[in-house]
């Protein structure tokens, strides 16, 4: 797999008149797994879509190897940059092999006749995602986890050096989340595919990412290795959440333990003594102001 430089330069983007990304500049580390994190509505999905050319920036430029992607013909770009959207649609009655085969479109000619290589690539993508047995099944009768693997296989069949994924684990049980993330890591380790994804789960992000980008209100507020980015200060800043950071005992990556209002008494902490002992009802109905008058 080739290495590429892929960067956003001073990108402003949004929908209609609403600006979601506010002058974002970043460079995606080649052949690594990057994860974009941030609170709901911070623009992380917009950033991913803008990077993957689904949204045209209002100003600024996305550069692939120094060339603006808007100047690259779509099919040619689709051979280098792939995207798995958050909720692609399963056409009625389509089989697994045919859906995975759709990923070959940018490599095929006008008439779309399958070459020997098309078959081999599709077979390999299905093997990597462990869905060879499902090849001739209908996608609409599969479970959520199987379906997600089919979509991943389609993205794989596209054979791009850079792959964007918009929340590839949403709606999946924890077992399948781990399975998908493991498979994507295999892909990165085996072929050096550059992976950029949006994930909701910060702890899984910290575990699987080589590099992280943190967004707040459309601005890039931090980037770097998980151990550098995931701090209680940054989590407070980005998510507005009080938390403690511990070491993930399995992966040794940083792991966020949220505090919340009801459980802070568990561990003695510097400033939580008062709040920690308040009864839940009191805390809920009479927050910080004049606790005596409420009851």
């Amino acid at each position: 797999m080739r290495s590429h430089t892929y960067e956003a330069v001073d990108v402003v983007a949004g929908y209609d008149s609403r600006i979601v990304l506010d002058h974002v500049s970043l460079q995606i580390p080649s052949n690594r797994i990057s994860v974009i994190i941030g609170a709901n509505g911070c623009g992380k999905s917009t950033l991913l879509k803008t990077l993957a050319r689904l949204i045209k920036p209002v100003s600024g430029e996305i550069l692939l190897d120094g060339r603006p992607i808007r100047t690259i013909p779509p099919k040619q770009l689709a051979r280098v940059v792939g995207l798995l959207p958050q909720s692609p649609i399963v056409p009625e009655g389509i089989t697994v092999a045919d859906l995975v085969g759709r990923g070959r479109y940018p490599h095929q000619s006008l008439l779309g006749i399958w070459s020997r290589k098309d078959y081999e690539v599709v077979a390999e993508a299905m093997e990597i995602m462990n869905i060879t047995d499902l090849a001739n099944r209908h996608v609409d009768e599969l479970s959520g986890g199987q379906r997600q693997r089919v979509w991943n296989a389609m993205a794989l069949a596209q054979q791009t050096d850079i792959l964007f994924l918009d929340e590839p684990t949403t709606f999946l049980d924890i077992t399948y989340q781990i399975e998908i993330l493991d498979l994507l890591t295999d892909l990165n380790r085996k072929y050096g595919t550059t992976i950029v994804m949006v994930l909701h789960d910060i702890n899984l992000s910290a575990r699987y990412a080589d590099y992280m980008f943190a967004l707040r209100e459309g601005r890039l507020v931090a980037e770097g290795k998980p151990s550098e980015v995931i701090t209680s200060g940054l989590i407070k800043d980005v998510f507005g959440l009080d938390c403690t950071i511990i070491r993930d005992p399995v992966s040794n990556s940083p792991s966020v333990v949220p505090i919340g209002r009801h459980h802070a008494g568990g561990i003695p902490m510097t400033d939580s003594g008062l709040r920690g002992n308040a009864s839940p009802e009191r805390a809920e109905y009479a927050p910080s102001a004049s606790p005596a008058s409420g009851a």
């Binding site: 779509p74 692609p88 940018p106 399958w114 299905m126």
Partner: protein, 343 residues
């Protein structure tokens, strides 16, 4: 290790393609057989040899008139209009991802009909002007509906609902015009209500045939992009499809085909609506179903016309027969969509 997987995929694909080919071939043969029946059957049943001779240009008394001026235009109108309805319905349903989205519901046919009836009853224009007006009105109706349904983001549901509203409005105009119309104009106007192949003249067909023959190769060529658009806007553009271009071109072609076909035959009910789902059910997903849908449309119109002419003691226009087929399917679809919570 890979060879077995490749074999499994190859076999499955070959099987689906064979099914698609077989179904398409059978549909084509069926359409041709119905075309032949259209030429052979009528008040007088001519033997094949006579029909062939007439088509080759031989002058045979009685037969030449019946075949060349009555049966051949009727057959060609059924074939091409049916094909056009089928293709446009399938493209609409696929792009808008809604089985209810078709030229009838979107209001093209109602707009065309209202304009045509207005021309016939109020302006008393010639047939050519009426046809032209109905095509233009059909296209304008689409623009109006699209403009009203646009809002901040595009929504298929809103498009369908606005379409139904516009359709009701056009139908009320038609009803009003029929009430005030002079009696001798009514027969010509009635065909715009039901759709029929009665009295189609050869010279009316040239535009429809030309439109089909010119547009179809491009529409078929975009069939693969249509298959990718089925995955959703984002997935399609991530695969390198110029989604805006493909969508606009396919929609525009379908609108033109439907409007021109309506100008020739009137709104033959439910053909655009039925053809796609029937074609998909029969041919599977082995390849793009644009052509099978067109063939199903042609078969439906031709069969409905034959049934209307010969199956009952009274002659019915083709549109009545297709409406009888379409209504139960519409109900079935509404119930099914309701269960799925699509509304």
């Amino acid at each position: 290790m890979n060879t077995t997987a490749v074999e499994i995929i190859r076999k499955g694909r070959a099987r689906r393609r064979r099914r698609w080919m077989a179904v398409t071939l059978v549909l084509a043969v069926l359409a041709l057989a119905l075309c032949a029946a259209m030429l052979l059957l009528g008040n007088t049943i001519y033997p094949v040899r006579v029909v062939a001779a007439v088509l080759m240009g031989e002058e045979i008394k009685g037969a030449s008139f019946a075949i060349n001026t009555v049966r051949l235009p009727r057959m060609l109108a059924g074939l091409f209009a049916g094909f056009a309805f089928g293709v446009s319905g399938y493209v609409f349903q696929t792009i808008l991802r809604n089985p209810l989205a078709n030229p009838n519901v979107i209001g093209i046919t109602a707009g065309s009909s209202a304009a045509a009836v207005f021309c016939i009853i109020v302006l008393q224009t010639s047939k050519a002007v009426t046809s032209a007006a109905s095509v233009v009105a059909g296209l304008l109706t689409v623009l109006v509906i699209y403009g009203l349904a646009r809002g901040k983001t595009f929504s298929v549901g809103r498009l369908v609902l606005v379409g139904i509203g516009i359709q009701a409005m056009c139908n009320s105009i038609i009803t009003y015009l029929m009430m005030i119309g002079k009696e001798h104009n009514l027969p010509a106007a009635v065909r715009w209500l039901t759709g029929s192949l009665n009295g189609v003249k050869m010279e009316e067909l040239s535009v429809l045939m030309a439109a089909c023959l010119i547009l179809m190769p491009f529409v078929c060529l975009l069939g693969r992009q249509l298959q990718l658009l089925e995955l959703g806007e984002q997935a399609a553009s991530a695969l390198g499809v110029r989604t805006d271009f493909a969508r606009v071109f396919l929609m525009a072609s379908s609108v033109v085909l439907a409007a021109i076909a309506t100008a020739v035959t009137g709104p033959i009910a439910a053909v655009a609506f039925l053809a796609g789902p029937i074609a998909v059910r029969l041919a599977g997903t082995g390849a793009s179903n644009i052509i099978p849908a067109g063939l199903v449309g042609a078969v439906l119109v031709l069969a409905a016309d034959l049934a209307g002419q010969f199956a009952f003691q009274v002659k019915f226009p083709a549109g009545i027969i297709t409406a009888i087929l379409g209504a139960p399917y519409l109900l079935y679809l509404l119930v099914k969509m309701n269960r799925k919570g699509a509304f």
